[in-house]
Protein backbone atom coordinates (compact mmCIF):
# COMPACT_ATOMS: atom_id res chain seq x y z
CA UNK A 1 0.00 0.00 0.00
CA UNK A 2 3.00 2.26 0.51
CA UNK A 3 3.93 2.33 -3.15
CA UNK A 4 3.13 5.57 -4.90
CA UNK A 5 -0.01 5.44 -7.00
CA UNK A 6 0.64 4.95 -10.69
CA UNK A 7 -0.60 7.64 -13.08
CA UNK A 8 -3.33 5.26 -14.17
CA UNK A 9 -4.59 4.86 -10.61
CA UNK A 10 -4.49 8.61 -10.08
CA UNK A 11 -6.39 9.12 -13.31
CA UNK A 12 -9.01 6.58 -12.34
CA UNK A 13 -9.45 8.10 -8.92
CA UNK A 14 -9.85 11.56 -10.37
CA UNK A 15 -12.25 10.32 -12.98
CA UNK A 16 -14.31 8.82 -10.21
CA UNK A 17 -14.20 11.98 -8.18
CA UNK A 18 -15.00 14.24 -11.09
CA UNK A 19 -17.77 12.17 -12.58
CA UNK A 20 -20.95 14.17 -12.05
CA UNK A 21 -23.97 12.59 -10.44
CA UNK A 22 -25.78 12.55 -13.77
CA UNK A 23 -23.19 11.43 -16.29
CA UNK A 24 -23.34 11.63 -20.07
CA UNK A 25 -22.15 13.59 -23.09
CA UNK A 26 -25.51 14.96 -24.18
CA UNK A 27 -26.93 18.13 -22.64
CA UNK A 28 -30.09 18.44 -20.61
CA UNK A 29 -29.30 15.84 -17.96
CA UNK A 30 -29.92 18.15 -15.05
CA UNK A 31 -33.11 19.57 -16.51
CA UNK A 32 -34.47 16.11 -17.33
CA UNK A 33 -33.55 14.88 -13.85
CA UNK A 34 -35.25 17.90 -12.31
CA UNK A 35 -38.48 17.41 -14.26
CA UNK A 36 -38.55 13.65 -13.72
CA UNK A 37 -37.84 13.67 -10.01
CA UNK A 38 -39.91 16.78 -9.32
CA UNK A 39 -42.98 15.43 -11.14
CA UNK A 40 -42.71 11.92 -9.69
CA UNK A 41 -42.19 13.40 -6.25
CA UNK A 42 -45.13 15.80 -6.36
CA UNK A 43 -47.61 13.61 -8.25
CA UNK A 44 -46.80 10.10 -7.02
CA UNK A 45 -44.42 9.93 -4.06
CA UNK A 46 -45.93 12.69 -1.92
CA UNK A 47 -49.46 11.18 -1.99
CA UNK A 48 -48.05 7.69 -1.40
CA UNK A 49 -46.10 9.02 1.58
CA UNK A 50 -49.29 10.62 2.88
CA UNK A 51 -51.03 7.22 2.96
CA UNK A 52 -48.12 5.54 4.73
CA UNK A 53 -47.75 8.36 7.27
CA UNK A 54 -51.46 8.74 7.95
CA UNK A 55 -51.49 5.11 9.05
CA UNK A 56 -48.43 5.63 11.21
CA UNK A 57 -49.45 7.07 14.58
CA UNK A 58 -50.45 3.49 15.26
CA UNK A 59 -47.82 1.07 16.49
CA UNK A 60 -47.33 -2.22 14.67
CA UNK A 61 -49.87 -4.05 16.82
CA UNK A 62 -52.45 -1.31 16.35
CA UNK A 63 -51.81 -1.28 12.60
CA UNK A 64 -52.35 -5.02 12.36
CA UNK A 65 -55.48 -4.86 14.52
CA UNK A 66 -57.05 -2.38 12.08
CA UNK A 67 -55.63 -4.00 8.97
CA UNK A 68 -56.73 -7.48 10.00
CA UNK A 69 -60.14 -6.88 11.50
CA UNK A 70 -62.70 -9.46 10.33
CA UNK A 71 -64.46 -7.39 7.66
CA UNK A 72 -61.13 -6.30 6.12
CA UNK A 73 -59.75 -9.81 6.40
CA UNK A 74 -62.76 -11.19 4.56
CA UNK A 75 -62.17 -8.61 1.81
CA UNK A 76 -58.50 -9.65 1.49
CA UNK A 77 -59.52 -13.27 1.19
CA UNK A 78 -61.99 -12.44 -1.57
CA UNK A 79 -59.73 -9.95 -3.37
CA UNK A 80 -56.52 -11.96 -3.31
CA UNK A 81 -58.22 -15.32 -3.83
CA UNK A 82 -60.26 -14.17 -6.80
CA UNK A 83 -57.30 -12.24 -8.23
CA UNK A 84 -55.11 -15.37 -8.08
CA UNK A 85 -57.84 -17.46 -9.69
CA UNK A 86 -58.45 -14.82 -12.38
CA UNK A 87 -54.72 -14.52 -13.12
CA UNK A 88 -54.49 -18.32 -13.38
CA UNK A 89 -57.36 -18.42 -15.88
CA UNK A 90 -55.70 -15.56 -17.78
CA UNK A 91 -52.43 -17.49 -17.79
CA UNK A 92 -53.95 -20.52 -19.53
CA UNK A 93 -56.26 -18.58 -21.85
CA UNK A 94 -53.56 -16.01 -22.60
CA UNK A 95 -50.93 -18.57 -23.63
CA UNK A 96 -53.54 -20.32 -25.79
CA UNK A 97 -54.59 -17.07 -27.48
CA UNK A 98 -50.98 -15.92 -27.99
CA UNK A 99 -50.10 -19.29 -29.54
CA UNK A 100 -53.06 -19.25 -31.90
CA UNK A 101 -52.51 -15.62 -32.94
CA UNK A 102 -48.79 -16.14 -33.61
CA UNK A 103 -48.73 -19.61 -35.12
CA UNK A 104 -51.94 -20.06 -37.09
CA UNK A 105 -53.47 -18.10 -39.90
CA UNK A 106 -57.22 -17.85 -40.16
CA UNK A 107 -59.72 -15.25 -41.30
CA UNK A 108 -60.23 -12.47 -38.76
CA UNK A 109 -56.91 -13.06 -37.01
CA UNK A 110 -55.69 -9.46 -37.33
CA UNK A 111 -59.03 -8.14 -36.07
CA UNK A 112 -58.97 -10.40 -33.01
CA UNK A 113 -55.36 -9.46 -32.39
CA UNK A 114 -56.37 -5.80 -32.26
CA UNK A 115 -59.30 -6.59 -29.95
CA UNK A 116 -57.08 -8.29 -27.36
CA UNK A 117 -56.23 -4.85 -25.94
CA UNK A 118 -59.90 -3.97 -25.42
CA UNK A 119 -59.82 -4.41 -21.62
CA UNK A 120 -56.98 -1.85 -21.51
CA UNK A 121 -58.81 0.62 -23.69
CA UNK A 122 -62.37 0.22 -22.36
CA UNK A 123 -63.07 2.37 -19.29
CA UNK A 124 -63.59 0.08 -16.31
CA UNK A 125 -67.02 1.50 -15.48
CA UNK A 126 -68.20 0.62 -18.99
CA UNK A 127 -66.75 -2.88 -18.69
CA UNK A 128 -68.47 -3.17 -15.31
CA UNK A 129 -71.99 -2.33 -16.45
CA UNK A 130 -71.52 -4.44 -19.60
CA UNK A 131 -70.42 -7.49 -17.62
CA UNK A 132 -73.14 -6.88 -15.04
CA UNK A 133 -75.73 -6.87 -17.80
CA UNK A 134 -74.22 -9.85 -19.61
CA UNK A 135 -74.10 -12.07 -16.52
CA UNK A 136 -77.35 -10.89 -14.91
CA UNK A 137 -79.89 -13.71 -14.46
CA UNK A 138 -81.65 -12.54 -17.64
CA UNK A 139 -78.47 -11.63 -19.53
CA UNK A 140 -77.06 -13.27 -22.64
CA UNK A 141 -74.60 -15.36 -20.63
CA UNK A 142 -76.30 -15.13 -17.25
CA UNK A 143 -79.50 -16.86 -18.40
CA UNK A 144 -77.85 -20.06 -19.70
CA UNK A 145 -75.57 -20.14 -16.66
CA UNK A 146 -78.55 -19.67 -14.34
CA UNK A 147 -80.23 -22.63 -16.06
CA UNK A 148 -77.16 -24.65 -15.04
CA UNK A 149 -77.55 -23.38 -11.49
CA UNK A 150 -74.55 -21.01 -11.69
CA UNK A 151 -75.20 -17.48 -10.49
CA UNK A 152 -72.57 -14.94 -11.44
CA UNK A 153 -73.89 -11.39 -11.22
CA UNK A 154 -74.27 -9.93 -7.71
CA UNK A 155 -72.40 -12.99 -6.33
CA UNK A 156 -68.70 -13.45 -5.45
CA UNK A 157 -68.29 -15.24 -8.80
CA UNK A 158 -68.94 -11.90 -10.48
CA UNK A 159 -65.66 -10.65 -9.01
CA UNK A 160 -63.86 -13.49 -10.77
CA UNK A 161 -65.46 -12.70 -14.13
CA UNK A 162 -64.58 -9.00 -13.96
CA UNK A 163 -61.00 -9.64 -12.82
CA UNK A 164 -60.42 -12.24 -15.53
CA UNK A 165 -61.66 -9.78 -18.13
CA UNK A 166 -59.34 -6.94 -17.17
CA UNK A 167 -56.27 -9.18 -16.80
CA UNK A 168 -56.44 -11.13 -20.06
CA UNK A 169 -54.32 -8.82 -22.26
CA UNK A 170 -51.36 -8.88 -19.87
CA UNK A 171 -50.54 -12.55 -20.51
CA UNK A 172 -51.24 -12.42 -24.26
CA UNK A 173 -49.11 -9.32 -24.77
CA UNK A 174 -46.12 -10.57 -22.76
CA UNK A 175 -46.08 -14.06 -24.32
CA UNK A 176 -46.74 -13.07 -27.94
CA UNK A 177 -43.36 -11.42 -28.74
CA UNK A 178 -41.45 -14.29 -27.11
CA UNK A 179 -43.33 -16.85 -29.20
CA UNK A 180 -42.34 -14.93 -32.33
CA UNK A 181 -38.71 -14.76 -31.27
CA UNK A 182 -38.24 -18.48 -30.54
CA UNK A 183 -35.93 -19.72 -33.25
CA UNK A 184 -37.75 -22.10 -35.56
CA UNK A 185 -34.47 -24.02 -35.71
CA UNK A 186 -34.85 -25.12 -32.10
CA UNK A 187 -38.23 -26.68 -32.78
CA UNK A 188 -36.91 -28.24 -35.98
CA UNK A 189 -34.01 -29.81 -34.09
CA UNK A 190 -36.46 -31.23 -31.55
CA UNK A 191 -38.52 -32.66 -34.39
CA UNK A 192 -35.42 -34.16 -36.04
CA UNK A 193 -34.50 -35.80 -32.75
CA UNK A 194 -37.84 -37.55 -32.82
CA UNK A 195 -39.84 -35.37 -30.44
CA UNK A 196 -43.56 -35.24 -30.96
CA UNK A 197 -45.19 -31.82 -31.27
CA UNK A 198 -46.38 -32.11 -27.68
CA UNK A 199 -42.89 -32.99 -26.45
CA UNK A 200 -41.48 -30.06 -28.41
CA UNK A 201 -44.04 -27.74 -26.87
CA UNK A 202 -43.47 -29.12 -23.40
CA UNK A 203 -39.66 -29.14 -23.46
CA UNK A 204 -38.70 -26.42 -25.95
CA UNK A 205 -41.48 -23.84 -26.24
CA UNK A 206 -42.81 -23.88 -22.70
CA UNK A 207 -39.45 -23.23 -20.98
CA UNK A 208 -38.82 -20.38 -23.41
CA UNK A 209 -42.11 -18.62 -22.74
CA UNK A 210 -42.22 -19.40 -19.01
CA UNK A 211 -40.66 -16.14 -17.72
CA UNK A 212 -42.89 -14.04 -19.97
CA UNK A 213 -45.99 -16.03 -19.03
CA UNK A 214 -45.24 -15.65 -15.32
CA UNK A 215 -44.60 -11.93 -15.80
CA UNK A 216 -47.99 -11.63 -17.49
CA UNK A 217 -49.58 -13.65 -14.70
CA UNK A 218 -48.07 -11.35 -12.07
CA UNK A 219 -49.12 -8.20 -13.93
CA UNK A 220 -52.67 -9.53 -14.24
CA UNK A 221 -52.68 -10.45 -10.55
CA UNK A 222 -51.40 -7.02 -9.49
CA UNK A 223 -53.97 -5.24 -11.64
CA UNK A 224 -56.76 -7.47 -10.33
CA UNK A 225 -55.98 -6.84 -6.68
CA UNK A 226 -56.35 -3.08 -7.12
CA UNK A 227 -59.28 -3.20 -9.53
CA UNK A 228 -62.43 -1.35 -8.56
CA UNK A 229 -64.52 0.01 -11.44
CA UNK A 230 -65.32 -3.17 -13.31
CA UNK A 231 -65.98 -5.21 -10.15
CA UNK A 232 -68.50 -3.13 -8.24
CA UNK A 233 -71.13 -3.38 -10.97
CA UNK A 234 -70.92 -7.16 -11.28
CA UNK A 235 -70.98 -8.19 -7.66
CA UNK A 236 -73.27 -7.56 -4.71
CA UNK A 237 -70.76 -5.57 -2.63
CA UNK A 238 -72.02 -7.21 0.55
CA UNK A 239 -69.59 -6.95 3.50
CA UNK A 240 -67.97 -10.29 4.42
CA UNK A 241 -69.36 -11.90 1.23
CA UNK A 242 -68.66 -9.95 -1.93
CA UNK A 243 -66.89 -6.79 -0.81
CA UNK A 244 -63.44 -6.22 -2.32
CA UNK A 245 -60.67 -4.42 -0.43
CA UNK A 246 -60.77 -1.17 -2.47
CA UNK A 247 -64.46 -0.91 -1.59
CA UNK A 248 -63.62 -1.29 2.12
CA UNK A 249 -61.35 1.75 1.76
CA UNK A 250 -64.21 3.72 0.22
CA UNK A 251 -66.62 2.69 3.00
CA UNK A 252 -64.08 3.79 5.60
CA UNK A 253 -63.72 7.15 3.86
CA UNK A 254 -67.49 7.58 3.75
CA UNK A 255 -67.58 6.96 7.51
CA UNK A 256 -64.84 9.63 7.91
CA UNK A 257 -62.60 6.90 9.33
CA UNK A 258 -59.46 8.31 7.68
CA UNK A 259 -57.11 6.29 9.88
CA UNK A 260 -58.86 3.04 9.01
CA UNK A 261 -58.84 3.90 5.32
CA UNK A 262 -55.15 4.80 5.48
CA UNK A 263 -54.24 1.54 7.24
CA UNK A 264 -55.99 -0.60 4.63
CA UNK A 265 -54.57 1.63 1.88
CA UNK A 266 -51.06 1.27 3.31
CA UNK A 267 -51.47 -2.51 3.41
CA UNK A 268 -52.38 -2.47 -0.27
CA UNK A 269 -49.42 -0.18 -1.02
CA UNK A 270 -47.02 -2.59 0.69
CA UNK A 271 -48.41 -5.29 -1.56
CA UNK A 272 -47.93 -3.01 -4.61
CA UNK A 273 -44.28 -2.46 -3.77
CA UNK A 274 -43.71 -6.18 -3.20
CA UNK A 275 -45.30 -7.10 -6.51
CA UNK A 276 -43.17 -4.51 -8.36
CA UNK A 277 -40.04 -6.26 -7.14
CA UNK A 278 -41.41 -9.65 -8.17
CA UNK A 279 -42.13 -8.29 -11.66
CA UNK A 280 -38.63 -6.80 -11.91
CA UNK A 281 -37.08 -10.11 -10.86
CA UNK A 282 -39.19 -12.04 -13.38
CA UNK A 283 -38.23 -9.67 -16.18
CA UNK A 284 -34.54 -9.96 -15.31
CA UNK A 285 -34.91 -13.75 -15.37
CA UNK A 286 -36.58 -13.60 -18.76
CA UNK A 287 -33.81 -11.41 -20.16
CA UNK A 288 -31.11 -13.74 -18.83
CA UNK A 289 -32.88 -16.75 -20.26
CA UNK A 290 -33.35 -15.26 -23.71
CA UNK A 291 -29.70 -14.14 -23.67
CA UNK A 292 -30.59 -10.52 -24.32
CA UNK A 293 -28.63 -7.82 -22.56
CA UNK A 294 -30.49 -6.25 -19.64
Amino acid sequence: MSAAATPLQVGLREARVRRPLVDGVLPGGRLAAGITIGWLGAIVLLPVAAVILASQPLDAAGFLAVSLEPRVLASYRLTFGMSLAAAAIDLVAGVLIAWVLVRYHFPGRRLLDTLVDLPFALPTAVAGIALGNLYAPNGWLGAPLAALGIEVAFKPLGVLVALTFIGLPFVVRTVQPVLVEIAAELEEVAATLGATRWQTFRHVVLPAILPAALTGFTLAFARAVGEYGSVIFVTGNIPYVSEITPLVIISRLEEYDYRGAAVVGATMLIFSFAILFVINALQAWGQRRSGLPG
Binding site: G24, L118, V126, A130, A191, N280
Partner: protein, 292 residues
Protein backbone atom coordinates in the same frame (compact mmCIF):
# COMPACT_ATOMS: atom_id res chain seq x y z
CA UNK B 1 -37.74 -3.42 -33.89
CA UNK B 2 -38.25 -7.14 -34.19
CA UNK B 3 -40.28 -7.30 -30.99
CA UNK B 4 -42.78 -4.82 -32.36
CA UNK B 5 -42.80 -6.39 -35.79
CA UNK B 6 -44.43 -9.68 -34.94
CA UNK B 7 -47.95 -8.78 -35.75
CA UNK B 8 -48.52 -9.23 -39.41
CA UNK B 9 -45.47 -11.25 -40.32
CA UNK B 10 -46.25 -14.39 -42.17
CA UNK B 11 -43.75 -17.00 -41.09
CA UNK B 12 -42.03 -18.11 -44.25
CA UNK B 13 -43.64 -21.45 -45.14
CA UNK B 14 -43.82 -23.30 -41.85
CA UNK B 15 -41.67 -26.39 -42.08
CA UNK B 16 -43.62 -29.63 -42.20
CA UNK B 17 -42.13 -30.78 -38.90
CA UNK B 18 -43.47 -27.68 -37.16
CA UNK B 19 -46.99 -28.06 -38.41
CA UNK B 20 -49.48 -29.15 -35.82
CA UNK B 21 -51.98 -31.83 -36.83
CA UNK B 22 -55.03 -30.19 -38.47
CA UNK B 23 -57.39 -31.27 -35.69
CA UNK B 24 -55.15 -29.69 -33.05
CA UNK B 25 -54.98 -26.51 -35.05
CA UNK B 26 -58.73 -26.40 -35.56
CA UNK B 27 -59.44 -27.16 -31.91
CA UNK B 28 -57.06 -24.51 -30.60
CA UNK B 29 -58.33 -21.87 -33.05
CA UNK B 30 -61.94 -22.58 -32.08
CA UNK B 31 -61.07 -22.43 -28.37
CA UNK B 32 -59.12 -19.18 -28.64
CA UNK B 33 -61.69 -17.50 -30.86
CA UNK B 34 -64.57 -18.47 -28.57
CA UNK B 35 -62.74 -17.14 -25.53
CA UNK B 36 -62.08 -13.85 -27.34
CA UNK B 37 -65.63 -13.59 -28.63
CA UNK B 38 -67.38 -14.39 -25.36
CA UNK B 39 -64.99 -12.45 -23.19
CA UNK B 40 -64.18 -9.38 -25.25
CA UNK B 41 -66.64 -8.98 -28.09
CA UNK B 42 -69.83 -9.78 -26.16
CA UNK B 43 -69.40 -7.05 -23.53
CA UNK B 44 -68.77 -4.54 -26.28
CA UNK B 45 -71.82 -5.74 -28.19
CA UNK B 46 -73.96 -5.51 -25.04
CA UNK B 47 -73.04 -1.85 -24.57
CA UNK B 48 -74.07 -0.92 -28.11
CA UNK B 49 -77.23 -3.08 -28.07
CA UNK B 50 -78.47 -1.78 -24.74
CA UNK B 51 -77.70 1.80 -25.75
CA UNK B 52 -79.76 1.53 -28.92
CA UNK B 53 -82.54 -0.68 -27.57
CA UNK B 54 -84.98 2.11 -26.63
CA UNK B 55 -84.53 3.58 -30.10
CA UNK B 56 -82.46 6.29 -31.66
CA UNK B 57 -84.55 9.13 -30.22
CA UNK B 58 -83.96 8.02 -26.65
CA UNK B 59 -80.29 7.54 -27.49
CA UNK B 60 -80.00 11.04 -28.88
CA UNK B 61 -81.89 12.45 -25.89
CA UNK B 62 -79.50 10.78 -23.45
CA UNK B 63 -76.53 12.26 -25.27
CA UNK B 64 -78.15 15.69 -25.61
CA UNK B 65 -78.74 15.90 -21.86
CA UNK B 66 -77.08 18.84 -20.10
CA UNK B 67 -75.48 16.64 -17.48
CA UNK B 68 -73.96 14.50 -20.22
CA UNK B 69 -72.55 17.58 -21.92
CA UNK B 70 -71.05 18.80 -18.70
CA UNK B 71 -69.55 15.40 -17.93
CA UNK B 72 -68.01 15.36 -21.40
CA UNK B 73 -66.58 18.82 -20.79
CA UNK B 74 -65.00 17.80 -17.46
CA UNK B 75 -63.56 14.67 -19.04
CA UNK B 76 -62.07 16.65 -21.93
CA UNK B 77 -60.60 19.28 -19.61
CA UNK B 78 -59.02 16.59 -17.42
CA UNK B 79 -57.53 14.82 -20.44
CA UNK B 80 -56.33 18.06 -22.04
CA UNK B 81 -54.46 18.99 -18.87
CA UNK B 82 -53.18 15.48 -18.14
CA UNK B 83 -51.84 14.34 -21.50
CA UNK B 84 -49.49 17.28 -22.29
CA UNK B 85 -48.07 17.31 -18.77
CA UNK B 86 -47.38 13.58 -18.75
CA UNK B 87 -46.01 13.89 -22.28
CA UNK B 88 -43.39 16.37 -21.07
CA UNK B 89 -42.65 14.12 -18.11
CA UNK B 90 -42.35 11.08 -20.36
CA UNK B 91 -39.86 12.74 -22.70
CA UNK B 92 -37.79 14.07 -19.79
CA UNK B 93 -37.81 10.71 -17.99
CA UNK B 94 -36.86 8.76 -21.13
CA UNK B 95 -34.12 11.27 -21.97
CA UNK B 96 -32.73 10.95 -18.45
CA UNK B 97 -32.92 7.16 -18.26
CA UNK B 98 -31.64 6.31 -21.74
CA UNK B 99 -29.00 9.03 -22.26
CA UNK B 100 -27.27 9.27 -18.89
CA UNK B 101 -25.65 7.11 -16.26
CA UNK B 102 -26.52 7.79 -12.66
CA UNK B 103 -26.86 5.86 -9.42
CA UNK B 104 -30.33 4.55 -8.65
CA UNK B 105 -31.46 4.30 -12.26
CA UNK B 106 -33.27 0.99 -11.88
CA UNK B 107 -35.01 2.28 -8.75
CA UNK B 108 -36.19 5.30 -10.75
CA UNK B 109 -37.57 3.07 -13.52
CA UNK B 110 -39.41 1.03 -10.90
CA UNK B 111 -40.88 4.20 -9.39
CA UNK B 112 -42.10 5.35 -12.82
CA UNK B 113 -44.04 2.05 -13.00
CA UNK B 114 -45.48 2.42 -9.51
CA UNK B 115 -48.83 3.97 -10.58
CA UNK B 116 -49.53 0.83 -12.63
CA UNK B 117 -49.56 -1.35 -9.54
CA UNK B 118 -51.27 1.02 -7.09
CA UNK B 119 -55.02 0.56 -6.80
CA UNK B 120 -56.92 3.55 -8.24
CA UNK B 121 -58.88 3.71 -4.99
CA UNK B 122 -55.63 4.06 -3.03
CA UNK B 123 -54.65 6.88 -5.41
CA UNK B 124 -57.91 8.66 -4.59
CA UNK B 125 -57.41 8.00 -0.89
CA UNK B 126 -53.90 9.45 -1.02
CA UNK B 127 -55.20 12.70 -2.52
CA UNK B 128 -57.90 12.96 0.15
CA UNK B 129 -55.25 12.46 2.83
CA UNK B 130 -53.09 15.19 1.27
CA UNK B 131 -55.56 17.80 0.09
CA UNK B 132 -58.80 16.91 1.92
CA UNK B 133 -60.19 19.07 4.73
CA UNK B 134 -58.35 16.90 7.28
CA UNK B 135 -55.32 16.35 5.07
CA UNK B 136 -51.76 17.69 5.31
CA UNK B 137 -52.47 20.75 3.19
CA UNK B 138 -56.16 20.89 4.12
CA UNK B 139 -55.99 23.77 6.58
CA UNK B 140 -53.80 25.85 4.28
CA UNK B 141 -56.06 25.20 1.28
CA UNK B 142 -59.18 26.11 3.24
CA UNK B 143 -57.54 29.29 4.54
CA UNK B 144 -56.70 30.29 0.98
CA UNK B 145 -60.05 29.31 -0.45
CA UNK B 146 -58.67 26.63 -2.78
CA UNK B 147 -60.74 23.52 -3.26
CA UNK B 148 -58.89 20.43 -4.51
CA UNK B 149 -60.82 17.42 -3.26
CA UNK B 150 -64.44 17.25 -4.49
CA UNK B 151 -63.46 19.72 -7.21
CA UNK B 152 -61.80 19.78 -10.63
CA UNK B 153 -58.17 20.02 -9.38
CA UNK B 154 -58.59 16.74 -7.48
CA UNK B 155 -59.97 15.03 -10.56
CA UNK B 156 -57.04 16.28 -12.62
CA UNK B 157 -54.46 15.24 -10.01
CA UNK B 158 -55.98 11.76 -9.78
CA UNK B 159 -55.98 11.42 -13.57
CA UNK B 160 -52.36 12.57 -13.81
CA UNK B 161 -51.28 10.11 -11.10
CA UNK B 162 -52.76 7.04 -12.81
CA UNK B 163 -51.41 7.99 -16.26
CA UNK B 164 -47.86 9.03 -15.27
CA UNK B 165 -46.13 5.95 -16.74
CA UNK B 166 -47.82 5.69 -20.15
CA UNK B 167 -45.60 7.91 -22.34
CA UNK B 168 -42.38 7.13 -20.45
CA UNK B 169 -43.04 3.36 -20.72
CA UNK B 170 -43.35 3.63 -24.51
CA UNK B 171 -40.29 5.84 -24.96
CA UNK B 172 -37.74 4.19 -22.68
CA UNK B 173 -37.33 0.89 -24.61
CA UNK B 174 -37.56 2.73 -27.92
CA UNK B 175 -34.86 5.29 -27.11
CA UNK B 176 -32.72 2.58 -25.49
CA UNK B 177 -32.83 0.59 -28.73
CA UNK B 178 -32.05 3.61 -30.90
CA UNK B 179 -28.94 4.54 -28.96
CA UNK B 180 -27.46 8.01 -28.70
CA UNK B 181 -25.08 8.03 -31.70
CA UNK B 182 -27.26 10.27 -33.87
CA UNK B 183 -27.73 12.78 -31.07
CA UNK B 184 -24.01 12.83 -30.30
CA UNK B 185 -23.28 13.36 -33.99
CA UNK B 186 -25.66 16.32 -34.04
CA UNK B 187 -23.90 17.72 -30.99
CA UNK B 188 -20.49 17.39 -32.65
CA UNK B 189 -21.89 19.20 -35.69
CA UNK B 190 -22.69 22.14 -33.45
CA UNK B 191 -26.34 21.65 -32.54
CA UNK B 192 -27.44 22.77 -29.09
CA UNK B 193 -29.57 20.67 -26.77
CA UNK B 194 -32.93 21.96 -27.99
CA UNK B 195 -31.93 21.53 -31.62
CA UNK B 196 -30.87 17.94 -30.93
CA UNK B 197 -34.20 17.26 -29.26
CA UNK B 198 -36.23 18.96 -31.98
CA UNK B 199 -34.45 17.77 -35.10
CA UNK B 200 -33.02 14.38 -34.09
CA UNK B 201 -34.72 12.84 -31.08
CA UNK B 202 -38.36 13.81 -31.57
CA UNK B 203 -38.54 12.80 -35.26
CA UNK B 204 -37.00 9.43 -34.35
CA UNK B 205 -39.49 8.69 -31.59
CA UNK B 206 -42.62 10.27 -33.06
CA UNK B 207 -44.55 7.03 -33.56
CA UNK B 208 -43.77 5.73 -30.08
CA UNK B 209 -44.68 9.15 -28.73
CA UNK B 210 -48.05 9.14 -30.47
CA UNK B 211 -48.67 5.59 -29.25
CA UNK B 212 -47.99 6.63 -25.66
CA UNK B 213 -50.20 9.71 -26.00
CA UNK B 214 -53.09 7.61 -27.32
CA UNK B 215 -52.85 5.11 -24.45
CA UNK B 216 -52.47 7.94 -21.93
CA UNK B 217 -55.53 9.72 -23.33
CA UNK B 218 -57.68 6.58 -23.30
CA UNK B 219 -56.89 5.95 -19.66
CA UNK B 220 -57.27 9.64 -18.76
CA UNK B 221 -60.75 9.81 -20.26
CA UNK B 222 -61.80 6.46 -18.83
CA UNK B 223 -60.37 6.59 -15.31
CA UNK B 224 -63.00 5.72 -12.76
CA UNK B 225 -61.74 4.47 -9.38
CA UNK B 226 -59.32 7.26 -8.50
CA UNK B 227 -61.57 10.00 -9.82
CA UNK B 228 -64.58 8.50 -8.07
CA UNK B 229 -62.95 8.91 -4.64
CA UNK B 230 -62.01 12.58 -5.10
CA UNK B 231 -64.98 13.72 -7.17
CA UNK B 232 -67.78 13.96 -4.65
CA UNK B 233 -70.22 13.16 -7.47
CA UNK B 234 -71.67 16.66 -7.76
CA UNK B 235 -73.82 16.69 -10.90
CA UNK B 236 -72.88 19.34 -13.38
CA UNK B 237 -69.70 20.16 -11.46
CA UNK B 238 -67.40 17.24 -10.71
CA UNK B 239 -68.84 14.38 -12.72
CA UNK B 240 -66.80 12.92 -15.55
CA UNK B 241 -68.25 10.66 -18.25
CA UNK B 242 -67.39 7.38 -16.45
CA UNK B 243 -68.88 8.74 -13.21
CA UNK B 244 -71.96 9.89 -15.11
CA UNK B 245 -72.36 6.32 -16.39
CA UNK B 246 -72.16 5.00 -12.83
CA UNK B 247 -74.69 7.49 -11.46
CA UNK B 248 -77.20 6.87 -14.25
CA UNK B 249 -76.82 3.12 -13.82
CA UNK B 250 -77.39 3.31 -10.08
CA UNK B 251 -80.47 5.45 -10.63
CA UNK B 252 -81.82 2.65 -12.83
CA UNK B 253 -81.63 4.84 -15.93
CA UNK B 254 -80.06 1.86 -17.63
CA UNK B 255 -80.64 2.92 -21.22
CA UNK B 256 -79.16 6.37 -20.61
CA UNK B 257 -76.21 4.81 -18.77
CA UNK B 258 -75.49 2.56 -21.73
CA UNK B 259 -75.94 5.44 -24.18
CA UNK B 260 -73.23 7.44 -22.40
CA UNK B 261 -71.16 4.25 -22.02
CA UNK B 262 -71.36 3.73 -25.77
CA UNK B 263 -69.51 7.04 -26.29
CA UNK B 264 -66.70 5.72 -24.12
CA UNK B 265 -66.82 2.37 -25.91
CA UNK B 266 -66.40 4.16 -29.23
CA UNK B 267 -63.45 6.01 -27.77
CA UNK B 268 -61.98 2.63 -26.83
CA UNK B 269 -62.54 1.30 -30.34
CA UNK B 270 -60.93 4.38 -31.87
CA UNK B 271 -57.99 3.86 -29.51
CA UNK B 272 -57.61 0.24 -30.63
CA UNK B 273 -57.76 1.22 -34.30
CA UNK B 274 -55.15 3.92 -33.80
CA UNK B 275 -52.93 1.43 -31.96
CA UNK B 276 -53.36 -1.01 -34.83
CA UNK B 277 -52.46 1.61 -37.44
CA UNK B 278 -49.39 2.69 -35.48
CA UNK B 279 -48.23 -0.93 -35.08
CA UNK B 280 -48.23 -1.15 -38.86
CA UNK B 281 -46.21 2.08 -39.13
CA UNK B 282 -43.74 0.80 -36.59
CA UNK B 283 -42.37 -1.84 -38.91
CA UNK B 284 -41.35 0.21 -41.92
CA UNK B 285 -39.80 -2.64 -43.96
CA UNK B 286 -41.34 -6.02 -43.17
CA UNK B 287 -39.70 -8.02 -45.99
CA UNK B 288 -36.25 -7.34 -44.56
CA UNK B 289 -36.29 -10.60 -42.57
CA UNK B 290 -32.75 -11.62 -43.38
CA UNK B 291 -30.98 -14.23 -41.35
CA UNK B 292 -27.42 -13.30 -40.41
Amino acid sequence: MSAAGWQGQRRPQTALALRDPPWVRALLIVLAVSVLLSFLVLPLAVVLMEALRPGLDAYAAALADDNTHHALLITLVAALLTVPLNLIFGIAAAWLVTRFRFPGKSLLITLIDLPFSVSPVVVGLSLVLLYGAHGWFGAWLVANGVKVVFALPGIVLATIFVTVPFVARELIPLMQAQGREEEEAALVLGANGWQVLRHVTLPNIRIGLLYGVILCNARAMGEFGAVSVVSGHIRGQTVTLPLHVEMLYQEYQTAAAFAVASMLALLALATLLAQHALEALRRPHPPEETSP
